[in-house]
C-alpha cells in the first residue's frame, strides 16, 4: 500500500508537485498520466525517497520518511524510465544487484540469493541471459531484466516510470501483461507512469491524472479518460472511442484537417 498526503516538491523557485494526495491500495495498479512536466516522474521519485519532498508518505504501513535507504529498498522497488545498463555486466550479476537491500554491508551474495535470481530469470524467460552480457540483449530482454532486478528486491511495492517507453507496441503489451501477472502472483502494489493513455486505461485499476503538479482527476479509467478532460489537460484535441469489445481507445485529432493528397 502507498499513501501520499499533501506531497510537495520544489526545485528552487519551480514547484514540481503542489500538494498531491493519492492512495494506492495493496494489490492495486494505479497509473499516473498527464502531460510532460506535470510531475509524474517527480512524484515517483519522491515516493522512492530519491528527491527532497514535504508531506506524508506511507509505504506498506510504515512512515516513509523515517526509513533508512536499506529498509526503504525492501519495501519499494523503483525502476526509472531509462535504467543504466552496464554493458559488460552479465544478466545474473545485474539481477543480483536487486539483492542489495537484503545483504549486510560487507556481505556477498549467498547461494540462496543466486537461487532467487536464477528463478526470476527463468520466470522472465531470460534463462539463457544469466551468463550473457547486457550489451548483447535486445530492448525487450533488457526491459525484462530490469524488471527481474526490481523483483529481486522482494519488495511489496513496485514503482515504474514509463516501463515500456523503449519498446514497440507488441513488446509493450507483453511487458504490461507480465507486470500484471506478477502483480497477481506476488500481491504487488504497482504505481507506474504510463504515457500511452490507451494502454494505461487497459491495464491500470485506477488512473491519476496530474496537471501542473496537482491531481486533476483520480478514478476508474472510464471516469478519467474523457474527451474534454483530456483535451483540456493536454492542450490538444483528444477523443476517446469505445471499441466493440468495450475497451477505451484514446486518439488525438489533428489541429488542421489533413491536406488532400
Amino acid at each position: 500500500m502507498i499513501g501520499v498526503d499533501d506531497l510537495r516538491v520544489s526545485f528552487g523557485a519551480t514547484t514540481a508537485l503542489d500538494g498531491v494526495s493519492v492512495t494506492v491500495a495493496t494489490g492495486e495498479w494505479v497509473a499516473l498520466i498527464g502531460p510532460n512536466g506535470a510531475g509524474k516522474t517527480t512524484m515517483l521519485r519522491a515516493i522512492a525517497g530519491l528527491t527532497h519532498s514535504a508531506g506524508g508518505i506511507v509505504l506498506a504501513g510504515q512512515p516513509g520518511r523515517q526509513l533508512s535507504h536499506r529498509r526503504r529498498a525492501r519495501l519499494i522497488a523503483y525502476v526509472p524510465q531509462h535504467p543504466q545498463l552496464p554493458p559488460e555486466m552479465t544478466g545474473l550479476d545485474y539481477v543480483l544487484l536487486g539483492r542489495t537491500p537484503h545483504l549486510g554491508y560487507f556481505a556477498v551474495e549467498s547461494q540462496s540469493d543466486r537461487r532467487i535470481c536464477l528463478d526470476l530469470l527463468d520466470r522472465m524467460a531470460l534463462t539463457d541471459m544469466a551468463g550473457r552480457r547486457i550489451a548483447t540483449m535486445s530492448g525487450g530482454e533488457a526491459q525484462r531484466l530490469v524488471l527481474a532486478r526490481a523483483l529481486a528486491q522482494q519488495a511489496p511495492i513496485l514503482v515504474l516510470d514509463e516501463p515500456t517507453s523503449s519498446l514497440d507496441l507488441g513488446r509493450r503489451v507483453d511487458a504490461l501483461e507480465l507486470i500484471d501477472e506478477l502483480r497477481g502472483e506476488r500481491s504487488l502494489t504497482v504505481l507506474s507512469a504510463i504515457h500511452d493513455l490507451t494502454l494505461a486505461g487497459q491495464f491500470a485499476d485506477r488512473l491519476v491524472l496530474l496537471r501542473h503538479g496537482k491531481v486533476a482527476a483520480d478514478g476508474k479509467p472510464t471516469d478519467v479518460l474523457r474527451d474534454n478532460l483530456l483535451s483540456e489537460t493536454f492542450g490538444a484535441g483528444i477523443g476517446v472511442l469505445r471499441t466493440a469489445g468495450g475497451e477505451l481507445a484514446v486518439i488525438s485529432h489533428r489541429q488542421r484537417p489533413a491536406s488532400p493528397a
Binding site: 520544489s10 526545485f11 528552487g12 521519485r45 522512492a48 525517497g49 530519491l50 528527491t51 527532497h52 533508512s68 535507504h69 536499506r70 529498509r71 526503504r72 529498498a73 525492501r74 522497488a77 523503483y78 526509472p80 524510465q81 531509462h82 535504467p83 543504466q84 545498463l85 552496464p86 554493458p87 559488460e88 555486466m89 550479476d93 545485474y94 544487484l97 536487486g98 542489495t100 537491500p101 545483504l103 554491508y105 560487507f106 556477498v108 550473457r132 552480457r133 550489451a135 548483447t136 540483449m137 535486445s138 530492448g139 533488457a142 526491459q143 530490469v146 528486491q153 517507453s165 523503449s166 519498446l167
Partner: protein
C-alpha cells in the same frame, strides 16, 4: 609531473549517461544483437554474446600475484651489483627466527637487507596504494579518467613538502607535512564540493547531488594549492632542486622505517577498499538507482574517499608524486580481468605493486650511473598506454 591528465571533469556525472535503454539506443542494441556478437572495431569479435574472454577473478588474482612475486625477486636481484637468487634465499633465511646455518657474504647481505629489500617493499606498498586508490576513485566517481590525485592530494602533499624544504626544517618532517597537506587538501575539496552540491543541485537525485561539484572543487583546490606551491618554490630558488626532486618522486631514499611507517595506512586503506568492492559494483548502475537499491551513496563515497586518501597520502609522503600508476593499472585490470570492481580492486592493488617495482628496476638500471626519476619511467610507459586505453574505450564505448 604535477598535473596529471586525469583532472578532467566527469563526463558522465548525470544519471542519463549514454547507457540508458530507450529511444534509438535500444534500437541500436537490438540491431547489434542481430549480428553475430558485437564485432567491435579493433578485432574484438567473439562468439555470439560472449565477452572478450576475461581471465576470471581467481586466475586474474593468481596471475597478478605471480607477476608481483617475480617483480619482487627481480627487484632484489637486479641492480648495479646483481645478486644471485640463491644468496637472496640465504639472506632471507638468515633473518628467520630459527634459521638454518647459512653463510652469506656480508656485502651481499647488506645490499639485500638494507638497500634493496626496503626499496622493493616500499615500492610495492606505494604502487598498491596508488593503483588501489585510482581504482576506487574510478568506481566511486564513475569516471574512467579518475586517478588517485583527483581530489587534490598531490597538490596538498606538494605544498606541505615544499614548505618543509624551503623552511629548512628537519627532513624527518617531510613525510608528515606531505601526508598532512594531502589529507587536508582532500578534506577541503570534499567539504566545499559537498556543500556546493547541496545548494546547487536541488533537482539532482539525493544520492547524486555533489559528485560533479566535488570533482570541480578538486580541480579548483588543486589549482590553488599548486599555485601556492609554485610561488613558494620560485621564491626560494636555492632549494629548487630538492623541491623538484621530491615532486618527481622516487624510491631511492627508501628505508625500513619508511616502509613500516606506511604499513598501518596500507592495511587500513587496503582492507577498507577491498571490503567495499561489491558496493562499487552496485554503483555501476548510477547513483539514483544505487540509492533506490538501498545504498547510502553519499556515505559510501565518503568512506571510499577517506580510505583511498589515507593510503594515497601515506604513499605520496614517502615517495613523492609518482604519476600514471593510479590510472594505468586499474585500466589494465579492467581490460584483462573484467569490468567488475570485485576483481578490479584487488587486481589493481597487486598489479600496482608489481608495476611500480618493475618501473623502479628500470629507473635504476636504464642509465648506468644515475637514476632516472621513476615518474619518467611510469609516464613513458603510461602515456602511450593511456592513449591505447582511450582508443579501445572509444571502440567499445564502455568501462562501466
Amino acid at each position: 609531473m604535477r598535473s596529471s591528465p586525469a583532472r578532467v571533469p566527469n563526463d558522465r556525472v548525470g544519471d542519463r549517461a549514454d547507457q540508458a535503454i530507450g529511444g534509438s539506443q535500444a534500437g541500436r542494441r537490438r540491431s547489434g544483437a542481430g549480428r553475430a556478437g558485437r564485432a567491435g572495431p579493433g578485432g574484438r569479435a567473439g562468439p555470439a554474446g560472449r565477452a572478450p574472454a576475461p581471465l576470471g577473478p581467481a586466475r586474474a588474482v593468481i596471475a597478478a600475484t605471480a607477476i608481483l612475486a617475480i617483480a619482487l625477486l627481480a627487484g632484489v636481484s637486479i641492480g648495479p651489483v646483481s645478486v644471485p637468487l640463491g644468496i637472496i634465499a640465504d639472506t632471507l633465511a638468515a633473518h628467520l627466527p630459527w634459521h638454518p646455518a647459512v653463510s652469506v657474504p656480508p656485502i651481499d647481505a647488506a645490499i639485500i637487507w638494507q638497500i634493496r629489500l626496503p626499496r622493493v617493499l616500499l615500492g610495492a606498498l606505494v604502487g598498491s596504494m596508488l593503483a588501489g586508490g585510482g581504482a576506487a576513485y574510478q568506481g566511486v566517481f564513475r569516471n574512467p579518467l579518475a586517478d588517485p590525485y583527483l581530489l587534490g592530494v598531490a597538490a596538498g602533499a606538494g605544498l606541505g613538502a615544499t614548505a618543509v624544504i624551503i623552511s629548512g626544517g628537519s627532513l624527518n618532517l617531510l613525510p608528515v607535512a606531505a601526508f598532512g597537506g594531502g589529507v587536508a587538501a582532500v578534506a577541503l575539496t570534499y567539504s566545499l564540493g559537498a556543500r556546493a552540491g547541496r545548494h546547487g543541485e536541488d533537482a539532482a537525485p539525493r544520492g547524486a547531488a555533489g559528485t560533479a561539484s566535488i570533482l570541480l572543487a578538486g580541480i579548483a583546490v588543486a589549482a590553488l594549492l599548486t599555485a601556492a606551491q609554485t610561488y613558494l618554490q620560485q621564491a626560494h630558488t636555492q632549494t629548487l632542486q630538492s623541491v623538484y626532486a621530491w615532486i618527481l618522486g622516487g624510491l631511492s631514499s627508501a628505508t625500513w622505517s619508511q616502509a613500516w611507517l606506511i604499513v598501518p595506512y596500507v592495511l587500513i586503506s587496503g582492507s577498507t577498499l577491498l571490503a567495499h568492492r561489491r558496493l562499487l559494483d552496485v554503483l555501476r548502475v548510477g547513483e539514483t538507482e544505487a540509492s533506490a537499491l538501498g545504498l547510502n551513496v553519499p556515505r559510501l563515497r565518503l568512506i571510499v574517499v577517506i580510505a583511498a586518501t589515507l593510503g594515497v597520502a601515506a604513499a605520496v609522503s614517502v615517495s613523492g608524486l609518482i604519476g600514471f600508476v593510479g590510472i594505468i593499472v586499474p585500466h589494465l585490470a579492467r581490460l584483462t580481468a573484467g569490468a567488475s570492481y570485485r576483481i578490479i580492486v584487488p587486481v589493481s592493488m597487486i598489479g600496482g605493486a608489481a608495476f611500480l617495482v618493475l618501473a623502479d628496476i628500470a629507473a635504476r638500471t636504464v642509465q648506468p650511473d644515475t637514476e632516472v626519476p621513476i615518474g619518467v619511467i611510469t609516464a613513458a610507459i603510461g602515456a602511450p598506454f593511456f592513449l591505447f586505453v582511450l582508443r579501445s574505450r572509444r571502440a567499445r564505448a564502455d568501462t562501466s
